[in-house]
Symmetry: C2
Amino acid sequence: MSKASHLKDIGLKATGPRLTILELFENSETRHLSAEDIYRKLLSDEVDIGLATIYRVLTQFEQAGILVRHHFESGKAVYELNQGGHHDHMVCVGCGTVTEFFDPEIERLQERIAKQHGFAIQDHSLYLYGECAECQSRRAPGKR
Amino acid sequence: MSKASHLKDIGLKATGPRLTILELFENSETRHLSAEDIYRKLLSDEVDIGLATIYRVLTQFEQAGILVRHHFESGKAVYELNQGGHHDHMVCVGCGTVTEFFDPEIERLQERIAKQHGFAIQDHSLYLYGECAECQSRRAPGKR
DNA sequence: AGCCTTTATGATACAGAGAATCACCGCACC
DNA sequence: GGTGCGGTGATTCTCTGTATCATAAAGGCT
């Protein structure tokens, strides 16, 4: 299915900005992008899309399930392509790198805890913050 | 140890606003308070503390380890008394109630995953969002 | 107690992320 | 080829939270 018809299927016109932003996610090295990231990236590519449009499109894509939104500690929201599999995130406080992981055991334990409290989970967020291997050795070479 | 000397020990003068805010946390029904919550609570108690002061004091208390800060999905930061034991949170999207829990197994698994990636955890945040038992039965009485 | 230095306070201005507004544009449909 | 309607982008607004700065209050000292 083409990108254009994919957008139409969810009730959104296949406009220039929307296709551009979608392609940006598909071609980006870094999976996780903030509105600002996208804005600046497009500016440097000589593509002029207003910041308001970017926020709008990101929100629409999130509601349509094309993107998933995360709030890391930075305070600003980042988005990534929704490729089906749920996963959690490990964020390096040194370089900002985001590593994804999935642990079925943790998922199961969360469900068990919720059940114990009569709580119906709709969503959850698990972020590990710390230092990645590269940043550790950069900071203390020789060690470890 | 008195509250006043506790504050002095961490290098903070025992001023009115600081003692008031500390007592508010100790006497509050709801463990988790935002700056706004505190501001409005104090206003209704005829205590006039500037919002700037509240933000400052909260930040200082967090740095001193007296309070712990959380970012739920609401976007605004909430604080709770740091009473030693780490725990995670379950937030009801219906009524906003926050339930605390601790699962040593989940903690252990997080550490294992980090180690597998050579990642040194400094901190983590785990929030479960969903509907609490009360809200479920309120929405669909009779069911479940 | 009274002085004096330091720190805290509160009003206000500012900053940054993101949402709302609104005139204009352009595509789809008649 | 008009016309209607959703989409766009410039701008304004809102909401948290921070920085500024003149004034006030703590706490040490005598």
